[in-house]
Amino acid sequence: MGAVVLIVLTIAFFIVRLAPGDPAALMLGPDATPEDAVALRERLGLDRPIFVQYATFITGAVRGDLGQSIFFNQPVTQVLKARAEPTVLLSLFSLIVALLVAVPIGIYSAYRHGSFFDQAAISTAMLAASVPSFWTGLMAQRWLATEYGWFPASGYGGPDTVFLDRIEYLILPSLVLGIVNSALILRFTRASMLDVLGEDYIRTARSKGMSEFRVVLRHALRNAGIPIITVVGLTFALLVSGAVVTERVFNIPGMGNLVVNAVLRRDYPVIQGTLIVVANLYVIINLITDLLYLVVDKRVRF
């Protein structure tokens, strides 16, 4: 894990500096002189040799110090911490929506393999996966928020908004993101269930007179669980790191919005910090996914 993080740190540092663009010129505005930009670069330490900057970054990162955001003039860890809550909650709610939609439909599709319901479910899943999330977001925002007023159109509350009220702002984006991401889980659930429902032990269970409900949910689903858990883990990691478009459309101040803005502002420390957090997150989610294998299937050994 340490090696992975070091590689990510190094790639993150150099890749963001390969892109042209000057954060100092951006911050000063259109009428600032080139000399002003040079002076600000000096003040920000961006004029130092690249390997000196790299050494400073690595030694800081080892101590948990990801540097100072150029734009916010705050420690990167503080900036990321502030963005973690909306992103994690949005990802969690979206995953719940995706699971509530995808798993029952996937199971029933597999159970009614080839039926009209199955065909309709697969086609709808294909459609949901094919439509860009920004379009779904814009439509949901326009109709469900603006026209019907069921949800706030955007944002994450103001100074007088308490935590529970903030959740209201996440419902619509969670529905959008959840439905878009349910397609993959639905297809995996259906495919895994189809494999398992054809196994001998399922036939045996049925021949013993076990109810269909019990056969499907206790025997088949449990054995189809590992691929489903794998895809759910990956989906969650993708949601945390990749809800960029949805956060943008709904103006949620999460990590996705942060990283887009950081790229546009050339806020190198924030881009690096976000990449590091996402890389670590993938490692942790993979670890949790592996541990969950043990829970659903006692035969699994590492």
């Binding site: 663009g21 505005g29 009428d31 002003d36 930009a37 003040r43 502030a82």
Partner: protein, 508 residues
């Protein structure tokens, strides 16, 4: 029992009366404003970005400001300065009883120290620093600025909210200012980056007594709170506005006009004219250092097609040659025959005269402002038709911001600006600007223009400068364009302005 009930009712009535009498004359209201993004800094001296001006003008103030007709008017200064006969000594009387947000009182020491810092750190201040001999506190409520030679744009520079000469307490002044303390009608309440900036009414504020007029006059502090919400996506700003989430939304896409117009909740606010797209020409290096090639470029441009492609709707642009639009004091017709020629033959002849051999004309532009890119695309076709080899360098805004500082990397870049109150505020005129346009004749007239204090004479000189700009192609104004903003139905007190302000805003 009856007496107890009467007592309770009486107490309730008294409480109600006491409460009502305690309510100030203004309404209790939060005005929520969707803006294009976060301000990079709350210190407007060090930034020339419009978003910084727009936000910070609510909590920091300058000595002077602009009224609704873009005339300079006093703000923290008690009145207009007493200018010496030679135009080099400005005695500025200050208002009494001005309180900073930290509770301290403003005096001439604060003002002198702030102006000195402005001359050292602000792009616009540094531009005139070599003309300033001294800035002195010549009385408890008087500062005197002495110049080495007359410079008539000084008051406009002191009034401008961009790279602004704002006044801070002397104690906090340094190269950087960590916690901004101003004198404005609002103070910073809470700032959660990328979520909101909360500004609260400053109870110690003493408003000017004159009627409100543009940024000048009374700042009534009508809302209790002004809340700026950074919303990067323009469509999200539109949806937030028409759903009633925002009271005001800035910089909206032209396509959303009819949607806002059809809304029961919001109404469009069109600022016409807002500004001008400009092609900034590199005079320091490259192809366009040759005047004949610049004239060929100017001759080839199909301005009306470019503007139509860029804005798509005649409500949002104006094919207009003068550097300042009709109604502005600087509007004149000198040299306008050079505008919108769309004449490939003339351009080809000029290129032949210049001995042009097909070197690429490098147009540096960005899709971050889609209208820049669209007008460049239309121009490319016309320029190629006239014989130019065109190289489109389409980059993101951050890259453009970097490349335009290196004269070796571009021949022209595309940008835009609001119409500024004073021509000298536009850096493109200056030979020391990044584009470096200079010729002896223009420098002489520009020097005379910036030294002259008589408005009629200045207008004549500006007409001369405009003619020279067309004849020498210093930079190219493509036209005028309007800005679309939107506000809640019933919101009053927010005049259409490039830097909208909300201290007089009220909702019916």
């Amino acid at each position: 029992m009856r007496s107890k009930s009467t007592f309770l009712r009486g107490s309730a009535a008294l409480l109600l009366i006491a409460t009502l009498s305690a309510v100030p004359a203004y309404s209790q209201k939060v005005v929520t404003v969707a803006v294009v993004g976060e301000a990079d800094t709350f210190d407007p001296m060090v930034s020339t970005k419009d978003i910084v001006s727009q936000v910070t003008q609510h909590f920091v103030e300058t000595l002077y400001t602009f009224d609704g007709s873009w005339n300079v008017a006093p703000l923290l200064a008690a009145e207009m300065p007493d200018i010496s006969a030679g135009g080099t000594v400005y005695r500025i009387p200050l208002r009494e009883g001005i309180m900073f947000h930290d509770g301290s009182m403003m005096d001439s020491g604060d003002v002198a120290a702030s102006i000195m810092r402005w001359l050292e750190v602000a792009s616009r201040g540094k531009g005139i620093a070599d003309r300033v001999t001294s800035v002195e506190a010549t009385g408890p409520l008087e500062v005197t600025i002495t110049l080495s030679s007359p410079h008539s744009p000084l008051l406009s520079l002191l009034a401008f909210s961009n790279s602004a000469a704002v006044v801070y307490p002397e104690e906090i002044i340094g190269e950087t200012i960590d916690e901004v303390i101003g004198t404005g009608p609002y103070r910073i309440g809470e700032h959660v980056p990328d979520l909101y900036l909360q500004l609260l009414r400053f109870d110690g504020y003493v408003s000017r007594s004159e009627p409100s007029d543009g940024h000048a006059g009374a700042r009534k502090q009508i809302p209790d709170e002004i809340r700026f919400i950074p919303v990067a996506d323009p469509n999200t700003r539109v949806e937030g506005l028409v759903s009633g989430q925002f009271d005001f939304a800035d910089a909206l896409p032209a396509e959303s006009y009819s949607r806002i117009e059809g809304s029961d909740i919001a109404e469009p606010l069109l600022l016409q004219p807002f500004g001008w797209p400009v092609w900034a020409i590199n005079h320091k290096a490259g192809l366009l250092t040759d005047q004949k090639v610049r004239l060929a470029l100017q001759a080839a441009l199909p301005i009306d097609d470019m503007l139509f492609a860029a804005f798509g709707d005649e409500r949002f642009f104006l094919v207009d040659a003068p550097l300042f639009p009709s109604g502005w004091v600087w509007n004149n017709d000198a040299g306008v025959e050079y505008y919108n020629q769309n004449d490939p033959e003339a351009a080809r002849a000029l290129l032949d005269e210049a001995g042009y051999t097909g070197q690429p004309l490098r147009i540096l532009t960005s899709r971050q402002f889609e209208f820049h890119f669209k007008m460049a695309e239309v121009a490319r076709v016309a320029l190629e038709d006239a014989g130019f080899t065109v190289q489109m360098d389409v980059v993101d805004w951050a890259t453009l911001g970097q490349r335009r500082n290196d004269p070796a990397l571009f021949d022209l870049y595309i940008t835009h600006s609001p119409f500024l109150p004073e021509p000298a505020l536009t850096s493109l005129w200056s030979v020391t600007a990044r584009t470096g346009w200079g010729n002896p004749e223009k420098e002489a007239v520009l020097a005379e223009f910036t030294a002259e204090t008589d408005l009629a004479k200045r207008r004549e000189l500006f007409a001369e400068l405009q003619r020279m700009n067309f004849e020498d192609v210093g930079f190219i104004k493509i036209g005028g364009f309007n800005a679309l903003m939107g506000q809640r139905e019933g919101l009053a007190g927010v005049p259409a302005n490039p830097w909208p302000f909300f201290w007089n805003a009220s909702v019916m």
